[in-house]
């Protein structure tokens, strides 16, 4: 039985449709990340699951029970806010024990549960401090502790790491992942940062404009994106796109104003009843090499220490991002080689990936 | 659904309770003399404009037939109220906003103490300073002058407007002026062009409170004025008829007196809604 089920969920704010009939099914113990740009409806969806927002239509089920109109406090879920939302007038201990007081547990029971969580998170030294005396990383842990102490059915997290400095975010990502491996609690996590999603998720739900674009494992959304939006959104930098036009001859394709190339890998495209396609290839799979088929000029380079990311302009103005792990720095005119096995192809009009069974070679 | 019906009934009852006195006064202003005292109270009656005619000295011969006596001084007194309340509100808003800005943006020595001192002027029941003010005004020849009441109301409202406006101005991040400063504006220009437009809702809310306070003020208007500068509240209360207190005319006076403030509040309603909930700027 699924832990959480979202059925045809729809939410509109006046004329604005925030969430348009989405369906989700989440298994016990899964870490599901709802990923999408600002305004795509991910936070609204999470808040509806929590009960902080009422759906306009559709239903939500937790462990088979319909909770759509149930008050948030009765759903047995915990919510971690982006801004932590710690009670400023209470100590860390009181903040964490607060949810349990509402459940009328006895004092010794409360203490045992709080100390359990506190030891697990490694925040014992902070117990008597007030939130304003804590660093943001510690505040984040206290917010987590407050959620964990209730042992809820589901954890809901709304961009919990975005209020942290870049370095802290990286550390907390690993900690959250490690935490999940140890507790194995069902978690629904919302973010706009695809690195967080790739790093922590068992399943990624990509959303845009109120609609689910794709549901899959990190590897699936990375290697087999359903459409151009997903292909571009996942990966940093996102996938490169090159419009191709079939010349009609052999496997010769045209790109840019007057460039042509041909490759056996493209032969399947000639059998499709269309002339225009979009080639998608990730920066990691494009290489600067003298045996490359495409010409380009390097316009800028981003040195990241362990790799260099080049912005290469192709004839016709298209920009390709190229990742290079080698230490030497390139510049000027270069030739690009594509790892054809990793290329994706999309139809031009509806931007969907062309799936084909004979992807051999 | 049932819950909503009960909610509706409760609200209707509450509204009726609060609006009943207002309805009664307005109704009374249109009632003939016997109807005013009728028992059981009359909610439906034959209306008359006699009370208003008496108030504004229209067709006094007709009015006299019904036992109203004497020329009404309502209109000049009403105009006094308009001038005094209006000018004093304008002054307390202007001075209050500028003061609040100084407290909000600059480091003022003893800020906490000063602000408390300003607020403390509101803690005094006005009656306590009634006689001292009378003596003071007599010495300064401010008795029965419009300027006397204007200064008084301005002073009393100043504390309120400083505190309210400081709250509103604090909500506006100082980065707004700073952006203007870096872009080539003086602080005064930045204040006028960038801060004031955003503080409008706060100003509207403060203006409404100051105006209502000055408009309805009774005690000092009574003791510090007599003829020339008397405002409406004391005069309405003293309207006499041939057989004692003229309730009908008083009711018409009160009803008419209500109109300007209600109109003003409706005019600034757009700004008021935002202003009354503080936290105007989301950033």
């Amino acid at each position: 039985m699924e832990k959480v089920k979202v059925d045809n969920l729809y939410k509109s704010f006046g004329e604005v449709e925030a969430v348009k009939h989405i369906n989700l099914s989440i298994e016990e113990g899964q870490f599901v990340v709802i990923l999408g740009p600002s305004g795509c409806g991910k936070t609204t969806t999470l808040r509806m699951i929590a009960g902080l927002e009422q759906p306009t239509a559709g239903d939500i089920f937790v462990e088979g029970k319909k909770v759509t109109h149930l008050h948030a406090s009765k759903r047995d879920i915990a919510f971690v806010f982006q801004s932590f939302a710690l009670y400023p007038h209470m100590t860390v201990y009181q903040n964490i024990s607060f949810p349990l007081e509402a459940q009328r547990l006895s004092r010794p029971e409360i203490k045992e549960r709080v100390m359990n969580v506190v030891e697990f998170l490694g925040i014992e030294p902070l117990l008597s401090l007030k939130p304003k005396q804590l660093s943001s990383g510690d505040m984040q842990k206290v917010a987590l502790g407050r959620a964990m102490v209730r042992r809820p059915k589901v954890f809901l997290m709304d961009e919990p790491l975005s209020g942290l400095d870049a370095k802290l975010r990286e550390e907390m990502r690993a900690e959250l992942k490690r935490l999940h491996i140890e507790i194995n609690a069902t978690t629904i996590y919302v973010t706009h940062d695809q690195i967080e999603a790739m790093s922590m998720a068992d399943t990624i739900v990509v959303m845009n404009d109120g609609v689910i674009q794709q549901i899959g494992s990190p590897q699936q959304v990375y290697m087999e994106p359903e459409n151009i939006f997903v292909a571009n959104f996942i990966g940093s930098p996102g996938m490169n796109f090159l419009p191709l036009v079939y010349t009609g001859k052999n496997t010769l394709f045209r790109y840019g104003p007057d460039q042509e190339f041909s490759h056996p890998q493209l032969s399947f495209l000639t059998q499709i009843d269309q002339k225009e396609f979009i080639l998608g290839i990730r920066p990691e799979y494009v290489q600067i090499s003298p045996s490359g088929l495409m010409n380009g000029e390097i316009i800028s380079v981003e040195p990241l220490g362990y790799k260099n990311v080049y912005a290469v302009e192709l004839p016709g103005g298209i920009r390709f991002m190229v990742e290079d792990m080698r230490t030497e720095k390139y510049s000027g005119q270069v030739k690009l080689q594509i790892n054809w096995k990793k290329a994706c192809f999309f139809t031009k009009n509806d931007e969907l990936r062309i799936k084909w069974s004979q992807k051999n070679g | 659904m049932e819950k909503k019906v009960w909610k509706g009934i409760l609200i209707a009852v509450g509204l009726a309770f609060f609006l009943l006195p207002i309805y009664w006064i307005i109704a009374t202003s249109f009632k003939q003399w016997p109807d005013i005292f009728a028992i059981p109270p009359k909610f439906v009656f034959r209306g008359t404009l006699l009370n208003y005619m008496a108030l504004f000295n229209i067709r006094l011969e007709e009015v006299a037939k019904f036992g109203q006596v004497g020329k009404s001084l309502f209109l000049p007194r009403f105009m006094n109220s308009v001038v005094i309340a209006g000018v004093s509100t304008l002054l307390s808003i202007t001075l209050g906003t500028l003061t609040a800005y100084a407290f909000s943006r600059f480091k003022v020595k003893g800020e906490g103490d000063l602000l408390f001192f300003i607020l403390s002027t509101r803690m005094l029941p006005p009656i306590v300073v009634g006689i001292p003010f009378f003596v003071l005004y007599r010495a300064l020849s401010l008795l029965d002058t419009k300027i006397g009441l204007i200064l008084l109301y301005m002073t009393f409202n100043l504390s309120f407007s400083v505190w309210l406006m400081k709250g509103f101005l604090d909500e506006i991040p100082k980065e707004y002026e700073e952006a203007a400063l870096v872009d080539g504006y003086t602080r005064l220009e930045a204040f006028i062009k960038v801060i004031l437009p955003q503080a409008l809702s706060g100003i509207a809310a403060t203006a409404v409170f100051c105006l209502i306070t000055a408009w309805n003020e009774f005690f000092f208007a009574l003791i510090l004025t007599s003829e020339k500068a008397r405002t409406a509240p004391p005069s309405i209360a003293a309207i006499q008829g041939s057989s004692g207190t003229n309730w009908g005319q008083i009711a018409s006076g009160v009803t008419f007196f209500l109109i300007p403030v209600v109109v003003f509040t409706f005019l600034v309603k757009k700004y008021l809604a935002r202003g009354l909930t503080f936290g105007v700027i989301k950033h």
Binding site: E170, I195, M198, G305 | A180, D183
Partner: protein, 359 residues
């Protein structure tokens, strides 16, 4: 010409010392990043350069002229705030035109229109001119704020973490655009951030600031490969550099945390140096190699699969090492792996002074 020179700036806020004798030079036309954690004093530095804040001690020079007593509006620099600070009661057009309508400029409305047209085309916001800021998305507001800064064609741009309120994807796109705008304008960009990836990708040079003092200034590769102190080594680089306690013993280096030792000749960077007995060995995640021919054994503790890039945490002798590898294989928690070390890239630090031993 717009170079900036800060000399021995000291700034207190009450008893808190925000800047301690801080000195920095921003070269004319460069894109300089001031990088540091929250509370390091970066915003304070920027505000002092702009004139919004006066230092307690020290001198500021813009174009070799002292800025003592010079008001912000006379310094000819543009400030881009983290929160954009767009005037909500004005349209986008009026927001961008605002600086040009001040008494300092008094520009003709036709000239203003021309300039705005040019700038909004570069920033691709021409279609937004009549809208009010509240109706724009974060990315659009960001560009309008940039437009308002650019419209004065200043020589010096001061930017206070302008990208941190943007979505991750938008941030990536804006980084490329900012770089090209910088190239196009040729102006000096003084950019502040806490994000080391942003610093590496955008800056011509990076100045690392911590607790009010400049720790190191240099090109991105220099900061990354030759950090002058432990702080810089840890702050720049993702995931964080691995630091292993070592003991120098005759001809070998004992890596105490992971129970391995290497002959000291494998580390040419230590040749002919006077070494304390205890030193810290710093290895960046990409400098530890997962290879079946490796000499060290460890157990996989955590795997972050980011596509081709993978970040793997391996436990060795109780210490967790962070490793970065680009490959197609899958790794699983609990798996045993063999590791090797790129000894030529290793960095060494004195654990007491926290300074690099190689400089």
């Amino acid at each position: 010409m717009a170079d900036v020179r800060l000399e021995n700036i000291v700034k207190y806020f009450g008893r808190l010392c925000a800047l301690r004798e801080m000195s920095l030079q921003v070269r004319d036309g460069e894109f300089l990043i001031l990088l540091g954690p929250t509370g390091a004093g970066k915003t304070t530095t920027l505000r002092i350069v702009s004139g919004l804040e006066i230092p307690d001690r020290g001198e500021i020079y813009i174009n070799k002229q002292s800025m003592k007593g010079v008001q912000p509006r006379d310094r000819n620099c543009a400030f881009v705030f983290q929160t954009y600070v767009l005037y909500p009661h004005m349209s986008v057009y009026d927001n961008i035109a605002f600086p040009l309508r001040s008494k300092v400029w008094k520009m003709d409305e036709n000239d203003i229109a021309q300039r705005i047209d040019r700038i909004t085309s570069i920033l691709k916001i021409t279609h937004l001119l009549k809208r009010k800021p509240a109706t724009l998305s974060g990315g659009e507001q960001q560009r309008v704020a940039l437009g308002r800064a650019m419209v004065r064609e200043p020589q010096l741009f001061l930017m206070d973490e302008p990208l941190s309120n943007l979505d991750a994807k938008l941030r990536e796109g804006m980084r490329v655009e900012l770089k090209s705008i910088h190239k196009k304008l040729g102006a000096t960009f003084f950019f502040v951030t806490h994000d080391h990836v942003e610093a590496m990708t955008l800056g011509d040079r990076i100045a690392v600031l911590n607790q009010g003092s400049i720790i190191q200034v240099g090109a991105p590769e220099e900061i990354y490969s030759y950090p002058s102190s432990l702080f810089v080594a840890k702050f720049v680089g993702n995931p964080e550099i691995n630091l292993i306690k070592c003991e120098v013993d005759n001809n070998s280096l004992q890596l105490k945390n992971i129970g391995v030792s290497f002959p000291i000749t494998l580390f040419p960077q230590l040749k002919n140096k006077n070494l304390p007995q205890q030193i810290l060995l710093g290895l960046r995640p990409e400098e530890i190699i997962l290879t079946p021919r490796g000499s060290m054994k460890g157990e996989i503790y955590l795997v972050e699969d980011l596509g081709v890039d993978k970040i793997i945490r391996v436990k060795m002798n109780g210490m967790v090492l962070r490793i970065r590898i680009a490959c197609e294989e899958y790794f699983h928690v609990g798996e045993t792996v063999m590791l090797d070390v790129d000894t030529t890239k290793a960095k060494f630090f004195d654990p007491i002074t926290e300074k690099s031993l190689e400089r």
